[in-house]
Amino acid sequence: MSLPLEYYLVLSALLFTIGVIGVLIRRNAIIIFMCIELMLNAANLAFVAFSRHLGQAEGQLFVFFVMAVAAAEVAIGLAIIVSVFKHRETINVDEVNSLKG
């Protein structure tokens, strides 16, 4: 007897929320970035749970695409963080505000 879908969806929702709260309360760009990864992962969990619930492999395929995009995003994002740090000596997102209108 396997667990019902709801268990996994609730867990996924909780993880996603923690990621959102992290993005809201932390100002360190790297930690914000990690929270985004956390949210992507929560979505992945929901994908795989649905994949088993419906007996379809597509859910797992989308997880791969999410992972590939996440990898690309991390590479670019970290490069941006490194170059911001080189120019401004900080990665606090509130201090990087010279484009403010």
């Binding site: 007897m1 667990l3 879908l5 709801e6 268990y7 996994y8 969806l9 609730v10 996924s12 929702a13 909780l14 993880l15 996603f16 929320t17 923690i18 990621g19 959102v20 992290g22 809201l24 309360i25 932390r26 360190n28 790297i30 930690i31 970035f33 990690m34 990864e37 956390l38 992962n41 992945n44 969990l45 795989v48 649905f50 088993r52 619930h53 419906l54 007996g55 492999a57 597509e58 797992q60 395929l61 997880v63 791969f64 695409f65 992972m67 990898a71 690309a72 995003e73 991390v74 590479a75 670019i76 970290l78 490069a79 941006i80 490194v82 170059s83 740090f85 900080t90 990665i91 606090n92």
Partner: protein, 180 residues
């Protein structure tokens, strides 16, 4: 007690504790390590869901590559000293947390209540899925789908990765010394 439930509770609890630790630790290195713990227990949940291949890829890609990059950057920039004023304070923080809790309630509501009314969550869908359970989703089936029906998204993914590769090189490349 259902053994799957026990394993689910263990992995679920570890992943939530890890996730909370990510946003509460002051130091980015500790946050990164907590995130690795979360990813790991998620891999455990994937195994529980029968998605072995995804679980292995989760560990290889997230724990093995992405988080190493994070650690690498944290160590390279030596960010430990910067994070002291890293968090919001006072009212704003309270508002953020209240909003977050609202979001969580909403998510749980959707998962528990509203899902039953949709096509995916209905009893017929569950029955249809039970009929499909005989053919487990193994690596073979994923590969077959990936290289037939989803070939175009797969190729687009490779383009995205290539674009990221070039983008990173352009971003971090030092300006060339003027040639004399």
């Amino acid at each position: 007690m259902n053994p799957e439930l026990i394993v689910f509770i263990i992995f679920g609890a570890v992943s939530i504790i890890g996730a909370i630790a990510v946003i509460s630790f002051r130091h980015p290195i500790y946050s990164a390590l907590s995130l690795i713990v979360t990813f790991f227990s998620q891999a455990g949940l994937f195994v529980l869901l029968g998605a072995h291949f995804v679980a292995a890829v989760q560990v290889i890609v997230y724990a093995g590559a992405i988080m190493v990059l994070f650690l690498f950057v944290i160590m390279l920039l030596n960010l430990g000293t910067l994070s002291a004023k890293g968090a919001l304070t006072g009212k704003l923080k309270g508002v953020a947390i209240i909003l977050g809790i609202l979001l969580a309630v909403e998510g749980v509501y959707i998962a528990v209540r509203a899902l039953n009314k949709t096509e995916v969550g209905s009893a017929e869908a569950a029955d249809a899925a039970a009929a499909l359970k005989d053919s487990p989703i193994d690596t073979y089936r994923i590969g077959e789908l990936l290289f037939s029906d989803y070939l175009l998204p797969f190729e687009v993914t490779s383009l995205i990765l290539l674009a990221a590769l070039i983008g990173v090189i352009v971003l971090v490349k030092r300006d060339k010394q003027p040639e004399n």
